[in-house]
């Protein structure tokens, strides 16, 4: 197993190198050249020239790429133009929020999607089935930011059940240790703070969950339908096993294989969705930060975002691959 993980990690190197090269090219193709990333678009020609000199932009291109790589490896992503602070620090501050949000969204999507997909398949052609299939189709076609506004308008503005924005009520004097507000509240036993943070996560979490939920329902349904027709389910019935045992051991266990794959795939889309969702709910995570950086043409932040997401993607990918070897013995590592 360890050798497998190491091998997978080694396989990542060329991909990450390729990505860094793409980023490097991107930086150099920016309107106004890479110094724009440092100075913004309104700098005077004199400062530009000075910075070009300081950045060594007149060095051979290989030297520049080498320097760029070295910076990336040391975590130096430059300074934000709008906040005048290191990009890496700004991201680290906002990352916990996004992680909380995506975890909540994924819990919604998995927790609702798998039972719903299973029931839809089990009661094929019932109203529940038609509702699930139709509903998931519509969910895929709704622009996620509009859904966010809609949910916010109904449940936060009109009904007032949930807060409209942010990660925690400003009137709560919460102690923050890790940056994960829910976790912080639990650690410091400030239960109202934890609960409030959790409360703030519900609506954005639901919004972000919409597309993964729809896809998980569809995949689970299709997969369960296929498995229900398999001979081994009939064997299990012939053994006189209870309905519950057949469902857990024989149907779901097999039907989950494609679902796990899709859950991994969805994580990438989740980060795209986080940019839009966090903006709708003014949720201070990296997604909202990235969206702001677009507004400000804050190139170092944009680059940092791309890089961080790529790394997250790689890690999630690795986790999916490893978990896959546990649930499907046929792909177990030799």
């Amino acid at each position: 197993m360890l050798r497998f993980i190491v091998r997978r990690l080694l396989q990542l190197i060329p991909t990450l190198l390729g990505l860094s090269l793409l980023l490097f090219i991107w930086l150099h193709r920016l309107p106004g050249g890479p110094e724009t990333a440092l100075l913004g678009e309104r700098a005077t020609p004199e400062t530009r020239a000075a910075v070009r000199e300081a950045m060594g932009l007149d060095d051979p291109i290989f030297v520049q790429y080498g320097r760029f790589l070295k910076q990336l490896l040391t975590g130096d992503l430059g300074n934000s133009l709008s906040e005048k602070r290191p990009v890496i620090d700004l991201f680290l501050e906002r990352f916990p929020g996004t992680i909380e949000l995506t975890v909540v969204a994924m819990l919604f999507a998995i927790g609702l999607g798998i039972p719903l997909g299973y029931l839809a398949a089990k009661r094929r052609a019932s109203w529940l089935d038609h509702m699930s299939v139709g509903g998931s189709l519509v969910a895929i076609c709704i622009p996620i930011f509009f859904l966010g506004y809609l949910i916010k308008a109904v449940f936060a503005v009109k009904l007032g059940w949930f807060p409209t924005f942010g990660r925690q009520d400003t009137t709560i004097d919460a102690t923050h240790i890790t940056g994960f507000y829910v976790l912080d509240g639990i650690m410091t036993q400030e239960w109202d703070a934890a609960l409030d943070a959790l409360w703030h996560l519900v609506l954005p979490g639901l919004t972000l969950a919409s597309i993964p939920l729809a896809i998980i329902v569809r995949i689970t349904r299709a997969s369960v339908l296929e498995v229900l027709n398999e001979d081994y389910v009939r064997t299990a019935q012939a053994k006189g096993l209870t309905e519950r045992r057949i469902r857990g051991r024989h149907v779901l266990r097999n039907a989950m294989l494609p679902v796990v794959t899709v859950i991994g795939l969805l994580t990438g889309g989740l980060l795209s969705g986080a940019v839009l969702t966090e903006t709708v709910f003014s949720f201070t995570g990296i997604g909202q930060f990235a969206a702001q950086s677009i507004d400000h043409r804050d190139y170092p932040v944009m680059m940092g975002f791309i890089l961080i997401i790529a790394v997250v993607y790689v890690i999630v990918n690795l986790i999916v691959d490893i978990s896959y070897t546990f649930i499907d013995p046929r792909v177990r590592v030799r």
Binding site: D231, Y232, R234, T235, A238, K239, G240, R245, R249, R330
Partner: protein, 341 residues
Amino acid sequence: MSLLDVQDLSVVFHSKGREDVRAVDGVTFEVRSGEIVGLVGESGCGKSVTSLALMGLLPPRGVKTGGKAIFDNGVDLLRTDQRTMRDLRGREIAMIFQDPLSSLNPVVPIGDQVTEVLTRHRGMKGEAAKKEAELLLDRVGIPDPRRRLKEYPHQLSGGMRQRALIAMAVACRPRLLIADEPTTALDVTIQAQILELLKELVHQDGTAMVMITHDLGVVAGLCDWINVLYAGRVVETAGRHALFAKPTHPYTHGLLSSIPRLDSVRGERLNPIPGSVRDLLPWLEGCAFAPRCDRVTEACVEGPPELTGGAHAFRCVNPVLEESGQDEAALYSREVSGAIE
């Protein structure tokens, strides 16, 4: 006393916008304790549907069953509730399926698939169940059972998989075992071994068995009583000796003479039955076999023939009367030894 008494069993499939399909149409047979009964026929004759109906495993929607199937203590297998049926399945009545690979769950170790039957019906858990599973695998001839318990179906050979399925079926020493073409998906050499194993197991436990097959060679050395099915109906039913010595229905006769014989004169032709199951007549309009029969007469299409003839009954108005000259013992030993060569 009979263990299973199937009377006038019929299974009708209906789907929207299509004509109903009568897969099984008034099948009657009997299985006594410890007896091996064969259901023989081509694919599509309704033999598998019969077995699924007896197990209560037909899909719940779009299927209508009729008749009776009284098991041992008076339970009608066709009418009883799911709960009773689940208690019976695996404990009193067990089944072995055709394709061992697809019939085993690919992501659950063999051991767990055996012990779950033990847990369900014999209340065995943990180490005790594991021990018993090991004994069972050993009993069906799987070498190194301790190690095999932890393996997955894809790590076993075809024959080993079928042995594992048999182990699950006999785990609770059922009164009745239904084997649906248990050797069809296997290599010829393995087929004989599996047949011998089944024969031995039911003999030791006194289990009755319904053997479903398209191969007369398989039933020749195995079954005490044989029912030949055609288009959902029994066309001939007889004891093994009587059937092989004097196949009366032209269909049985044809099946038997289409088996190649070692002692046949060189140059003699095989006698295949012409046509296929597809050109059959609905029973209501006469004998369903008539379009393929070389003994067809006017009387054949005037109405459905009845099952007549006492113990050795047949459903034909123009039966074959001469002896076959086939010896079932030779047939079976060829089935087995021909395979081993």
